[in-house]
C-alpha cells in the first residue's frame, strides 16, 4: 500500500489558502456596491460625513441656533430688530449685542447672507436684511437632529441680563 505523503503547514496553507482571483474581486466589488447603494437609499445621510466630527453640516452654539432659526423663520423680513425680538421671546432677555455679534459670526462662516439695500436713505426701513444660506439650512437641520431647543433658561452659559443684580 502506498504511503500518503504528509504535508507540512506551509504546504497546506499554500495549497488550500482561500485566495480570491482578480476577476472574483472585481465582480464582488460591483455586486456589493449595488447592495450598498440600495441600502444607502433607506438612510438619510445628507448631513453625514465619514470624517471630522461625523457631520457635513457646520455645528451651532445655542445662541447661534436661536438666531439662525429666527433668520430662517423671518425670511426676507429678517432685520437686526426683528431677529432680536424673536430671540428675546425664546431667551427671555433683551440681548441685541449678543445677537449682533452672533449675526456677524454666522455671516463670516457663510451660514447667513447679508443683503443691503443700495437705495436706502436715512429714516426709511432698515437697510440690512439677513437670509439663511444653504449651509445655514444644513446647520439648522443638524441642530434639530442633535436635539437643540429654542427656549432656554439662564443655564446656557450666557451672562445674566444687565438689569438683574446678583443676590
Amino acid at each position: 500500500m502506498k504511503k500518503r505523503k504528509k504535508m507540512n503547514m506551509d504546504e497546506v496553507l499554500r495549497k488550500y489558502w482561500p485566495a480570491a482571483s482578480h476577476e472574483e474581486v472585481e465582480s464582488a466589488g460591483e455586486r456589493v456596491w449595488k447592495r450598498l447603494e440600495a441600502e444607502l437609499d433607506k438612510h438619510d445621510t445628507s448631513l453625514r460625513s465619514l470624517y471630522g466630527d461625523g457631520w457635513s453640516a457646520p455645528p451651532l452654539e445655542q445662541l447661534e441656533f436661536q438666531v439662525l432659526t429666527a433668520v430662517s423663520l423671518l425670511g426676507d423680513r429678517g432685520t437686526l430688530k426683528s431677529i432680536t425680538a424673536m430671540v428675546h421671546k425664546w431667551t427671555g432677555r433683551e440681548m441685541v449685542g449678543h445677537v449682533y455679534l452672533t449675526l456677524g459670526g454666522l455671516a463670516e462662516r457663510g451660514i447667513i447672507a447679508l443683503h443691503s439695500d443700495p437705495t436706502w436713505e436715512y429714516g426709511e426701513k432698515p437697510a440690512h436684511r439677513f437670509e439663511i444660506t444653504e449651509d445655514g439650512d444644513r446647520a439648522l437641520r443638524r441642530a434639530k437632529i442633535e436635539g437643540k431647543e429654542l427656549v432656554t433658561d439662564r443655564e446656557d452659559g450666557l451672562a445674566p441680563p444687565m438689569n438683574e443684580r446678583p443676590r
Partner: protein
C-alpha cells in the same frame, strides 16, 4: 402642494466619501474577509455589514486615523462572526460528531478545516498569514507593510502556524 427637497451637491458628500473609501479599500477587505469565510457569499456579506454600520452610526476615531487598517480588520471580524454564527447554526441542527474535521479525509475537508481554523485566529495574525501565503511576501515585506519588525513577524508567523496546526488537528476541529 407638497414639494420634495431636491438633493444638493453637499447632501451627496457622505455618498462620495463612502464611494472613495469603497473603491480604495474593497480589494484588501474582500481578500481579508475571503480568507476567513472561505466563500464569496459570506465575504460579500461581511463587507456589506462593515459599510452599512457607517450609515447607522458615526465612524470611530480609529477609522479616521487609518481607514484601510480599520476597514480590513472590521471585515475580518465581521467575517469571523459570520463563520461562527454559521457554525453555531450547524451545531444546533446537526449531531456534533458529524462535524469533526479531519485533515486526512480529502482535500475539501482540509480546506474546510483550514477555513475553520483561520476564523479562530487574531485578525493581525491572519493579515500576516494572508500576506505570507496569498501575496507571497517575505517577513521583511510584511514587516514594512504592517509597521513591525521582521523578527517580530517571523516569530508571530511561527506561533501562528503552530496554533493553526493545533486547531486543525484537534479533535472536533476548531472547538
Amino acid at each position: 402642494m407638497a414639494t420634495t427637497k431636491v438633493p444638493t451637491i453637499k447632501d451627496e458628500i457622505f455618498r462620495q466619501e463612502l464611494d472613495a473609501q469603497y473603491r480604495e479599500n474593497f480589494r484588501p477587505m474582500y481578500r481579508a474577509a475571503k480568507c476567513v469565510t472561505g466563500n464569496r457569499h459570506d465575504a460579500d456579506e461581511a463587507i456589506e455589514k462593515v459599510f452599512v454600520r457607517f450609515f447607522e452610526e458615526q465612524p470611530s476615531r480609529v477609522f479616521r486615523k487609518n481607514p484601510k487598517a480599520y476597514l480590513c480588520k472590521a471585515a475580518m471580524n465581521e467575517a469571523r462572526n459570520i463563520v461562527r454564527s454559521n457554525r453555531l447554526r450547524k451545531w444546533v441542527g446537526e449531531d456534533v460528531s458529524e462535524l469533526e474535521i479531519a485533515t486526512h479525509n480529502g482535500e475539501e475537508n482540509a480546506r474546510q478545516s483550514l477555513i475553520a481554523a483561520l476564523s479562530e485566529l487574531d485578525p493581525n495574525l491572519l493579515e500576516m498569514l494572508r500576506l505570507r501565503f496569498e501575496q507571497e511576501y517575505s517577513c521583511k515585506e510584511i514587516a514594512e507593510e504592517l509597521g513591525r519588525t521582521g523578527l517580530g513577524v517571523a516569530v508571530n508567523l511561527h506561533r501562528g502556524l503552530r496554533k493553526l496546526k493545533k486547531l486543525m488537528t484537534a479533535p472536533g476541529g476548531t472547538r
